[in-house]
């Protein structure tokens, strides 16, 4: 929208920085979500040790919040439109594009909760940590909607293609995740299942009597 009619100068630099970091943050969060699913399914990245998947998932998520922080600060500092700092975390606190920015705030709140609990993981019960962590599945679509609604550029051209690409990747990964969940054998039935599997392995139980 406005960006189309302006060249980059000192006043618009912040605006551009804000949008660029926003796009990178979305890409990073997408990667983090995909990696999270990979961790859960005990998948590996080709050529990397197992702990690398967990490590990347964690470190990219920290990098993502760093980008979100710059994204927010630049948008707030930029004087062109008036966005109060509170709008970063409080939905509807901005007079400018309250809905779109509200989505961003919600997504950031959830992401902060997910990361904060993860950093304190050792002090939490697994149940509590996981319950919060699964909110990541809500935060991503909200972040995506925020990107699409806040920026008209994201609705056109290669940026739009990028947005659709991330959505497809996430949908595919979630389906892959749900497929695993559906195949999950309830705890009580696992032993019985393995039992019939191994008993089949070397022929059926034979008995001989003298």
């Amino acid at each position: 929208m406005l960006a189309n009619v302006r060249g980059i100068d000192s006043t618009t630099a912040l605006w551009y920085a804000s949008r660029a970091t926003g796009v990178v943050a979305l890409l990073l969060l997408t990667a983090v979500l995909l990696l999270g699913i990979l961790v859960t399914r005990q998948g590996r990245l080709p050529g990397l040790p197992r702990f690398a998947v967990t490590g990347l998932h964690r470190n990219l998520s920290l990098l993502a919040v760093a980008f979100v922080a710059v994204h927010v600060l630049t948008a707030v500092t930029d004087g062109y439109v008036n966005i109060p700092l509170t709008a970063a975390v409080v939905p509807l606190a901005s007079p400018y594009e309250p809905l779109a920015l509200g989505l961003g705030a919600v997504s950031l709140d959830i992401t902060i909760a997910v990361i904060a609990t993860s950093l304190l993981r050792r002090h939490l019960s697994r149940r509590v940590w996981r319950a919060v962590h699964l909110l990541a599945y809500a935060s991503w679509p909200v972040a995506w909607l925020h990107s699409i609604t806040a920026s008209s550029d994201m609705r056109h051209g290669w940026m739009f293609a990028l947005a659709i690409g991330t959505a497809l990747a996430v949908v595919a990964a979630v389906i892959w995740r749900l497929a695993a969940a559906a195949r999950d054998v309830p705890r009580a039935e696992r032993v019985g299942l393995l039992m019939s599997a191994v008993h089949g392995a070397h022929g059926r139980e034979r008995t001989t009597r003298r």
Binding site: Q42, R50, F51, G55, R122, R126, W129
Partner: protein, 66 residues
């Protein structure tokens, strides 16, 4: 104060990340589950032990004071 590694076998999903980070004290059995050396963690391995604990996706691996 000495610390020992303890794995909660109920939580452990056999990801095996711990064994990669601390092969001196953790090996994997033929089904991919960790066999953990229960002796006190020597100071030289302290950092690796902590890395292994924080890499465990299910919080199954812990350092317990004894």
């Amino acid at each position: 104060m000495t610390e020992r590694l303890v794995v909660n076998p109920i939580e452990c999903d056999g990801h095996g990340a711990c064994a990669e980070l601390l092969p001196e004290m953790i090996t994997l059995d033929e089904w991919g589950y960790p066999i953990v050396d229960g002796r006190p963690v020597p100071p030289a391995l302290d950092r690796d032990a902590r890395a292994a604990v924080s890499a465990c996706p299910t919080l199954a691996l812990r350092l317990l004071r004894s």
